[in-house]
Each structure stands twice: as C-alpha cells, then as structure tokens.
C-alpha cells in the first residue's frame, strides 16, 4: 500500500481485468508456428518504441529536464537507417542492416550530445533546448530522405520488429534488454543516486562534488540513443522512413508514461519499474480504446481524461485539502488515507 508503484499497478491490472471481462479472447494466448499470439503479446510487441523513449525520458526527467526532441530523433534515425539500406546493393544482407542500424544509432547519439551541450554547457532551459531539435530534426529527416517516404524490402531489417525468437517477439526482447541495462547501470552503480541528487538540487550536488554537467549530458545522450533504437524499430515495423509521421506525439506519450509511473516532473526520485508500468498502461488503454470501436483519432480525449485524473490525484494541494477535511477522523500515517480518497474520486 505504501509502495509508490501501488496505484500504477492497480490501474494496469484493472485495465486488463476490464478487457478480459469485456472480451474473453483478450487474455487468451495461442501457440502457432512457434509463435505466441494474443492481444497481450501484441501489446508487449507494440510497446517497444514507446518503452525505449520513455526509459530515456525517465532519466532526463530525473535530472529535472525534459526531452521534447525524441520524436524528431526517431524520425532522423529511421531516415538514416533506411537510406543506407535503400542505397546498398544488397538490402537483404545482414552486414548492410547492421551498418545501417549502427549508423542510425550513432547519428542519434550525436543529436543527444547536441541536446546535452545546450542544456548542461550553455545552461538553456531543457524545454527550449530540445524544442530546437524538435523543430529542426524533422526537417533534417526530410532532407535525408529527400522528401520522399523511403520504403525498403529487407528481411533482416523487418526481423527487428516483426521477428520472433523463443516464441516471443524480438521487439519485446529489445525493450526488456534496454530496461535491464538501464536498470543495472542506474541502480547497481552510483549513477542513479547521483542523477537523483542532480535532479533534487543541482547547485547543492555540484558543491558536494557531483559532476552534474557530465551526468546531465549523459542523460540526454542516453535518451537520444534509446530514441534512435525506437526509430529503427518503428521504421522496421512499417518498412518505411516517414519523416513526418515517425514518432509523432511520442514525446507527449512518453512524458505521460513517466508521470503515470510515479516519477515527478520536478526531477529527483525516479522509478524505472514505474515507467515500464506506465507504458503498459498507455498501450493497454490504446488497445482498449481501439476495441471499443472508437476511431483512433478520437483516443486523445481518453488520454486527456487520464492525464487530468492522474495529476489531480498526485496534486499535493488536493492531499492537503483532504487531509484537513479528514483530520477529525484521526491523524493516520502522512498522506495515506488521502490518496485512497483521491483515487476513489
């Protein structure tokens, strides 16, 4: 109950329960041709790009920053990868695909270093620093693809998003690996604590000898690399580089996922597990909305309601008001009864 993942997990489980009750086939998983099929597996596969982007966003937000450029980085990354494959003599060779993916991630890293430079070296507000790339990045992607939607037919490249290994989708393994790597680095080394220190009080942590510039810089670089991988997966899924549509609004959904997972936008304490749950909530909600027969274009209304409910529940002011209202009952542990009441409303 006290655990901060409690409410996100409750939300996810109840979403899955509602779906299972409403449509019995939702929870069913069947094996066919050495592959698992089912709505839940689809959710795990489709959440890969958002998961990767949200992971990076979590780290950036922990440093009290924000990265609006992730969608544009995805577009650039996809454009780089597909242009290389398209120009290659043999699009089906594994070597070509590896070079393409490597180049895409490298370009993303450069973009991340650029963001980090603006934020940590020049001291520009993160929202604005990354807004520059968010605006210019899609232009760059359009230049790379020369304004066309580059399409390719490359079996190894498609494998990244649509392939299966050991019954499960490759894309699922990619995001699990990313979560594991980021989790290990952040939680098994001091980096996570230092990141939180920078987010809670940049000046104090600098005085305490934390090299905050380097940590912030790394956060933006990591975010862009993860967005770059997400861009490759996205491009692999649609087998095309669409500079305008790739990663559109993903920064907003990623921020929503991070907030749903209980990480405060004010920086500091962050939860990677929370972000994972947050992404799964969004993906399940998306699947639910689709199932309800609502046109996907109208789905933002549901997300708006979710955002409003979540931020109101998290609002310290509401907690204070409720605490004052219920003070007569008895002073229980700080905040506990109030969050119950908040979630009920």
């Amino acid at each position: 109950m006290k655990h901060r993942l409690f409410w996100p997990v409750v939300a996810l489980v109840s979403l899955i329960l509602i779906n299972t009750i409403a449509r019995s086939q939702f929870a069913s998983i069947t094996v066919r041709d050495d592959r698992l099929y089912g709505a839940l597996i689809d959710i795990l596969r489709q959440s890969a790009p958002l998961m990767l982007v949200s992971l990076g966003m979590t780290i950036v937000i922990a440093t009290r920053g924000i990265d609006l450029s992730v969608g544009a980085v995805m577009a650039v990354s996809g454009a780089v990868a597909l242009t290389i494959i398209d120009d290659a003599t043999d699009p089906n060779s594994l070597g070509t695909v590896m070079v393409a993916v490597g180049a895409a991630i490298l370009v993303s890293l450069v973009l991340g270093v650029w963001n980090g430079f603006l934020v940590s070296a020049l001291g520009i507000q993160p929202i604005i620093a990354t807004l520059v790339l968010m605006l210019a990045g899609r232009g760059v992607a359009l230049l790379i693809t020369e304004g066309f939607i580059t399409t390719v037919n490359s079996t190894p490249f498609s494998f990244i998003s649509t392939g299966y290994v050991l019954l499960l989708p490759v894309a699922f393994f990619i995001w699990v690996a990313a979560v594991a790597v980021v989790g290990l680095i952040e939680r098994r080394t001091a980096l996570g604590v230092l990141t939180e220190a920078v987010g809670i009080n940049p000046e104090a942590s600098r005085l305490a000898g934390v090299r905050s510039t380097g940590i912030i810089w790394t956060a933006y670089a990591a975010s862009a690399v993860l967005a770059g991988i997400a861009g490759v997966i996205y491009a692999s899924n649609i087998r095309a580089a669409d500079a305008n549509a790739a990663g559109q609004f993903i920064e907003l959904y990623a921020i929503l996922a991070v907030v749903l997972g209980g990480t405060s936008l004010m920086g500091g304490k962050f939860s990677i597990a929370g972000t994972v749950v947050g992404v799964l909530i969004i993906q399940t909600l998306e699947s639910t909305i689709l199932f309800l027969g609502v046109p996907s274009a109208q789905s933002p209304v549901f997300f708006a309601i979710v955002v409003v409910v979540v931020v109101i529940i998290q609002s310290p002011n509401l907690h204070r008001v409720l605490r004052n209202t219920f003070r007569t009952t008895r002073s229980a542990g700080p905040g506990e009864p109030t969050s119950d009441a908040g979630a009920a409303g």
């Binding site: 604005i128 605006l135 210019a136 232009g139 002011n317």
Partner: protein, 339 residues
C-alpha cells in the same frame, strides 16, 4: 550610493549612448533584435531573390496568411510572461475551427456559433488554468492535457473536413479593403485588434502589471497581487485566442479540418520567443510577438519563393530559435549581474 556612482562614471567614461540605453531597456533588446532581423530579411530577399519582394501586395499577404498565428501568439505571450506555457493552442484552434464549420453546416446562425466556439476555447483554457493554479500541475503537463482533449474533441466533432458556405464567415476572408496596392481583410483587422488590445492590457492595466509580476516572481502574492486569478486568466485568454484563431483559420481555408494546426503550438512558441519574450517569464511584449510572427512568415515566404523544400523551413526556424535563446540567455545573465 557608491554603486550608483560607479555605474554613472562607467557610463560617462565609456560614454556610449548604446550602453545607457541597453542597461535601461535590456528587456527590449531581443525585440529590437527581432525587428532588425525582420528588416534584414526583407532587404536580403529584395536584393537576392527578385526585385519585387518588398511590395504592398506581399506585405499585405504576410498579415493575411499569418493572421491566425498572430492571434495565437498574443495569447501565448500572456502565458509565457507568467513563466507558463500553453501547448494546447494548435489543437484548440483545430477544435474550435471544425466545431464552427459543423455548427454552420447544421444551420446555426454565425451570431450564435462564433460566441459558442470562443466560449469553448475559453473553457479549455479555464481547465488548464485551474489545473495549474489550484492543483499545482506544471503548465507543460496541464496544457498537454488540453492538447489531447482539444485534438480528440476535434475528431469527435468530425473525422473529415467540413466545407463552410456561410456568406458572413467567408466575408471575413474574401473582403479586401484596399488602399492603393495595400489591402487588408477583416481577419487581418481582427488580428491587429487582438494585438493592440493585448498590448494595451499588458502595458497599461493593473492586470498586465500583475501578469509581469507573476512571471518575475512567484512571491508576487506577498505584494497583495491577485496571483491565482491572474494565472487562471492568462490561460483563459490563450483559450479565447485559440477560439478566435479557429474562426480566422476556418474563414481563411473555407473549411474546418480536424487535423489543422498539428505542431502549430511549436511555431507559435518559436515566434513568441523570436519576438523577444523570455521563456523564464517576466519579460516580453505583445508587439514583439507580432514581429516574431512576421519573421516566421517572412522566412516561410522566402523559402517558398526560392522553391526550396519546406524541410528547410523547420531547420531555419530551429536555428533562429536557438540564436535567440542564446542571445536572451546572455542578456538575462548580464542584467542579473547588474542588479
């Protein structure tokens, strides 16, 4: 005392009029820089592109084509001066625009439909403002909710575009009030009225001064200023501007389209920043935002004159935004050192 003397003697010794001016009007400098860039753009385009870039027709078209951006930029200026941000404006414009088209299609009189959509925009602004002020939600997230809500509602109203055939709405766009080769449409007049009203409120009313105070210092409430009311009001103003922009855009394109204005919030923020409003709040001018939109519009028309791809537009605006942020950063740092 000594401080005053040293500053005075420094000014005398270096003797620069510019220094006196820049130290007294440091918050005006970015706007003047934007004006200089606008003039340079015009002269550059006139020389290098073709001889007739600076023509009455061209400049008139600039206002006509960017009227909706001008209106949105005025609302955004209020919000950013309070150190907030409003991501919802593009979606609110799309929602109010398509709703207007739908209402008119159903035979509602424009006299009823237009106030209705403006109230619609104001309500979304009110929601954002209440979340920001009373629930301590960051403006970014609160207006993100507004963005999602308005975009979704736009598609709830209609999934495809709706043509507008109401004469009085089309009149806003088709009427050209001419003066020689210059012309202005009622939408252009509306945009300019919004600008002048915004500039007046910002500079000459108690509300305007409170707006600056809120952005300059969150403790403004200690001075007896009505911070909560002002914070909510700036988002409502932005929502109203979103509604007006929806009207103007629907008149301009002769149709409502739910996909309108995707990414417009970024263009508006860029224009406002280029016009000299500082994103950390407390400094900025409505007239500067007008200049910012003109810079944006001029770059857009230069790029289309050159026949270059629109992708360059995004890159140039991004680069210009960066330039202005760095300049602002330097100016703010310098004026902080002085005080």
């Amino acid at each position: 005392m000594t401080n005053v003397e040293t500053v005075g003697s420094k000014l005398q010794s270096e003797g620069g009029y510019f220094q006196v001016f820049s130290s007294r009007h440091s918050s005006l400098l970015p706007t003047l820089a934007a004006l200089a860039i606008l003039i340079m753009l015009f002269i550059g385009a006139e020389i290098f592109l073709r001889g007739d870039f600076i023509s009455p027709g061209n400049i008139s078209a600039l206002l006509l084509d960017n009227a909706y951006l001008v209106i949105l930029a005025v609302g955004m200026t209020f919000v950013i001066v309070t150190a907030g941000i409003d991501l919802s404006v593009g979606s609110v414009m799309a929602f109010t625009g398509i709703w207007l088209a739908k209402l008119l299609e159903a035979g509602t009189s424009p006299a009823l439909a237009i106030p209705a959509i403006i109230v619609g925009g104001a309500l979304i602004g009110l929601l954002i403002g209440v979340l920001v002020q009373f629930f301590d939600v960051q403006p970014f997230i609160a207006s993100l909710a507004g963005l999602f809500l308005a975009r979704g509602l736009a598609f709830v109203v209609s999934l495809s575009s709706i043509k507008v055939e109401t004469a009085s709405v089309l009149w806003l766009q088709s009427t050209r009030i001419r003066l020689g080769d210059w012309y202005i449409t009622p939408t252009g007049i509306l945009a300019l009225l919004v600008v002048f009203a915004g500039a007046y409120v910002m500079q000459y009313t108690r509300f305007g001064r409170t707006t600056y105070a809120v952005g300059g210092n969150q403790q403004a409430a200690l001075m007896g200023l009505k911070v909560p009311r002002t914070t909510v009001a700036v988002y409502v103003i932005s929502g109203v501007c979103g509604g007006l922009a929806g009207l103007v855009l629907t008149a301009y394109s002769g149709a409502g389209y739910p996909r309108n204005g995707v990414g417009t919030e970024l263009d508006v923020i860029a224009a406002v920043v280029i016009g000299g409003t500082v994103l950390t709040g407390g400094r900025g001018y409505v007239l500067g935002s007008l200049v910012g939109v003109f810079v944006y519009g001029t770059i857009k028309s230069i790029i289309s004159f050159m026949g270059a791809e629109q992708s360059w537009m995004q890159i140039v605006i991004g680069a210009l935004l960066l330039l202005f942020i760095v300049v602002q950063r330097a100016i703010v740092a310098r004026s902080n050192r002085r005080t």
